[in-house]
Symmetry: C2
Subunit: 262 residues, 2 copies
Amino acid sequence: MIIIGELINGMYKALAKAIMDREIDVIQHLAVEQAQAGAKALDVNVGPYSKDPKEDMKWLVESIQSVTDVSLCLDSTKADVIEEGLKIAKSRAIINSTDADEEKMNTIFRLAKKYKTQVIALTMDKSGVPNTKEKRLELAATIVAKAMDMGVNTEDIYLDPIVLPVNVAQAQGLEVLEAIREFRLLSDPPPNMVVGLSNVSQGTKARSLINRTFLTMAVANGLNAAIIDPLDKDLMDALIAAELIMNKQIYCDSFLDAYRKK
Amino acid sequence: MIIIGELINGMYKALAKAIMDREIDVIQHLAVEQAQAGAKALDVNVGPYSKDPKEDMKWLVESIQSVTDVSLCLDSTKADVIEEGLKIAKSRAIINSTDADEEKMNTIFRLAKKYKTQVIALTMDKSGVPNTKEKRLELAATIVAKAMDMGVNTEDIYLDPIVLPVNVAQAQGLEVLEAIREFRLLSDPPPNMVVGLSNVSQGTKARSLINRTFLTMAVANGLNAAIIDPLDKDLMDALIAAELIMNKQIYCDSFLDAYRKK
């Protein structure tokens, strides 16, 4: 499982403040903690309150890279903000994200080739988030075909079926789970499948329970990457146990510790 | 989800003693507690230490039925022990179990017809527990065909792919999960799918975590019945959340309480 830590995101008020006031300790502490908890990449998003997104992205990437060498998942709707991070990224980065829109894919896949990155691709387009598995698959196929056309390897694509909050779009959970199961059949080698997990529990009570339950079910359907809070111990325990059952980690009595020490 | 409470089983030493000494309070307390926690049926097994299995089965069924009217899941390898319970069962019972052996199916399905019960059918035969999804499916198809032949409705069959301990048969977890997904395609109306859950964590550390993780993954694959400990609160929370995500229960902020009050 490729764990992408979600916590460095300016949509959280405390983070927005830390970015604005250049509180480097706050950022670096979160980076180190997430990496130690098992994150193989860290999402980096300046957030909606940023006055100078390019400059903030640059500062975040520099601040994080001076304390950890895990990959960065550069997260913005603006390609020029992402590129600001790509220019100085030391490890191979992940672009978060493109969608299935032709023009957007042209821009993002060009960046991906230029900087040799991986790409998260959302199965949505200008008409919005699909409400069926079939439409998600159709958009995923469009993305995979376009990536191939442009010379981006399918194993460098992370297809994201877009998880919606269970309290407002309850029927979508099963559509997303079934989409994940079928995405892997789209190419050989298969693309990666990723979810932005915490969206599933947005606005609900019992957020951690809903998050870890959905993640466990997604792992059963073949999910191999997730943007999550790796500091949520119960979530990580569930993930490790799910990987154990999927036979991705060998059982030993201390399998929880063994996974964390890897 | 059809929850079958597992706790009245003489393989547990304390229960074996309660049965032998006719400690009716112990049995009745467990029956009521499991029913209140959501069990729709109670497994009843006199266990391996019983000196008079038929008499013990009769006493257990009478003791339980005087405090609750949930269904009983009469659990024995011996047909005559099961029949002792069937003779006095007030609600529609479940027989636990037959396997795919021709002679065994003849005996058990005849009992099922005579007493109008449902039947748990293990996908194993005289050569033992299969180690692939395909062999489980083959045996499941044999069972479903035999049930149809003998006039037992497929919706009264609970196919059990036989969960093995993850610490000794780790690769089997995925085979079982995938088997569950395909069992439901065997007939229309589909058979039920059940697991004896706690076997998955037999001999491991972190039993409750492994149990609830496996159950969550099985629900994602279509499992609709399980023999479990309904008094394990974390397990029940996971199950309720999994049902929520599968859109089997409508979301409300108090969905955990709402499920329990049903």
